[in-house]
């Protein structure tokens, strides 16, 4: 509440950094591109100022829709603090297909289930993020290849880990737990290195970003964290893996005009829930397989107050949707 008050009270004072140098909001709420956080501190605050941004993003791909809304403050172009709520809407088709797989696998053992109507469900997740600029100046230090380097964390709490959807035999379950995730919370740690090349290529400004992330997340945490497979019939622990894995992200963004940026993101995923024995029994071992995600975006910065990003995102496999291509729209207000 205090943060929101601060946000509103300082919102009238425009920060002193150059247009677009705070980036947009990536879908987990950090300052960056579409999928990956950048080393830049969000908002337009210089080393003497506090900046900030609020965003709303919607991504849609057939049976899935992801809302992301949040805000962040950038302190003295050094430290960024962000709060984001995500809501993944899951269509009733997916719930019906899940019920179908359970019935297919368990009916021979347990007999016909009580009838349940498949309803659409959703998974909510809160993300608290922080990012510290360690060294480097992405924009001005044009006489050096040394990038701007930032260290970040994203603490995620999945609110619908083990409840929220009714399925045959098992009753009220949560999608992440059902698919074999171990935990409802997880913390990602990342390093981002960003460099802007002014005047290259073709006189355009080019931003390059590399991101290294240690994570336990499945599908960015929307399907929980780690892997823990328990035989639903006898409660036996079949498999457990809650260690960190290293994932990579790359982004490039080219300024076509002073206000229009075209770019792309690439982000690898661990795919820890793939080849899961219980799902294997149900005949769907690859249900929660994760592919590396990529996007192509167009961002428009008409002024320092607003930015609009439209993107095409390829997420690969989602449960019961093996080839997920998404439309993405994000609005950011900043100061």
């Amino acid at each position: 509440m205090i943060l929101i008050g601060l946000f509103i009270s300082t919102a009238h004072a425009q920060g002193g950094r150059l247009l677009a140098t705070g980036g947009v909001s990536q879908f987990e709420g950090a300052g960056g591109g579409g999928l990956t956080p950048w080393a830049l501190i969000a908002g337009y605050g210089t080393e003497d100022e506090i900046g900030g941004a609020a965003h709303y993003t919607y991504l849609h791909t057939d049976d899935y829709g992801l809302h992301s809304a949040g805000f962040k403050l950038g302190f003295f172009d050094r430290f960024e603090l962000s709060l984001t709520r995500q809501r993944l809407n899951i269509d009733s088709d997916v719930v019906a297909a899940t019920a179908g797989a359970l019935i297919g696998g368990l009916e021979p053992i347990l007999g016909a289930p009580d009838p349940i109507t498949a309803r659409a469900t959703s998974i909510d997740m809160d993300i608290i993020g922080a990012k510290l600029r360690l060294f480097g100046d992405a924009v001005y230090a044009q006489d050096s290849w040394l990038p701007q380097l930032s260290l970040g964390i994203q603490h995620k709490r999945n609110k619908d880990f083990d409840s929220g959807v009714a399925v045959p035999y098992l009753g009220n379950v949560g999608v992440p737990a059902l698919l074999g995730a171990a935990d409802d919370t997880g913390t990602d740690y990342y390093l981002s290195a960003t460099k802007v090349l002014l005047g290259v290529p073709f006189g355009r400004n080019l931003l390059l970003n590399a991101n290294l992330r240690a994570t336990k997340a499945n599908a960015f945490g929307l399907l929980g964290f780690g892997r823990e497979v328990i035989n639903p019939l006898d409660g036996m622990l079949l498999d457990r893996d809650t260690g960190y894995e290293l994932e990579f992200g790359f982004a490039a963004a080219l300024f076509l005009t002073p206000t229009l940026v075209v770019g792309g993101d690439y982000r690898t995923q661990s795919s820890r829930l793939e080849d899961q024995p219980v799902l294997g029994l149900l005949g769907a071992p690859d249900l929660a397989r994760e592919n590396n995600a990529f996007d192509i975006f167009l961002a428009w910065f008409p002024n320092k107050t607003f930015a609009l990003t439209a993107a095409y995102v390829d997420l690969g496999n989602l449960p019961f949707q093996p080839d997920s291509k998404a439309a993405y729209l994000s609005l950011q207000a900043s100061f």
């Binding site: 002193g16 210089t46 044009q142 006489d143 090349l197 002014l198 005047g199 290259v200 290529p201 006189g203």
Partner: protein, 163 residues
């Protein structure tokens, strides 16, 4: 002797690899206190930025407008109180001519000297950049050339702010 030769051939090699459209030596200039910019290292242009901008007249014109915008800019014009505007325009034109590979050798004060004691903030520095971007756009300087001018000026930030 061998070391000097090696160094010379290395320099020649580097120069050959990066046939750069800016100041050939930079050594005579009182201005450039930083390494070659990424733009200079990576550019494949064969004509000097100075020539592609259209020479001294064009530089003089957008610098003149830029200084006028700065003097009218309430965010920063108090920093320029009592400054001789015509001399400022001349010094800045000489700088950009020199940096962009034109036939000028800037012999004014170094950036550290000329901003000593002014305690210019990063926001004020950026305000000036914005005024000059506007001046270049108003003078129909193509966006690509504008970015190259900014690329050559950007590394001066540490020499200018918080002095």
């Amino acid at each position: 002797m061998i070391r000097i030769l090696t160094l010379t051939s290395l320099l020649v090699l580097l120069t050959a690899c990066n046939s750069v459209p800016t100041t050939p030596s930079g050594a005579d200039s009182n201005l450039k206190n930083y390494d070659r910019t990424l733009y200079e290292r990576l550019s494949t242009e064969d004509a000097a930025l100075y020539d592609r901008l259209g020479g001294y007249e064009v530089i003089e014109r957008f610098v003149g407008d830029g200084v006028d915008y700065v003097l009218a800019d309430e965010r920063i014009n108090d920093l320029f109180e009592g400054v001789d505007a015509e001399n400022l325009k001349f010094q800045l034109s000489e700088q950009i001519c020199d940096l962009s590979g034109g036939p000028c050798i800037y012999d004014g004060m170094s950036m550290e000297e000329s901003h000593f004691g002014l305690d210019i903030t990063e926001a004020e520095f950026n305000a000036l950049v914005e005024d000059f971007q506007r001046a270049m756009r108003d003078n129909d300087i193509p966006y690509g050339l504008e970015n190259q001018v900014i690329a050559l000026l950007a590394p001066m930030k540490p020499a200018i702010i918080n002095r």
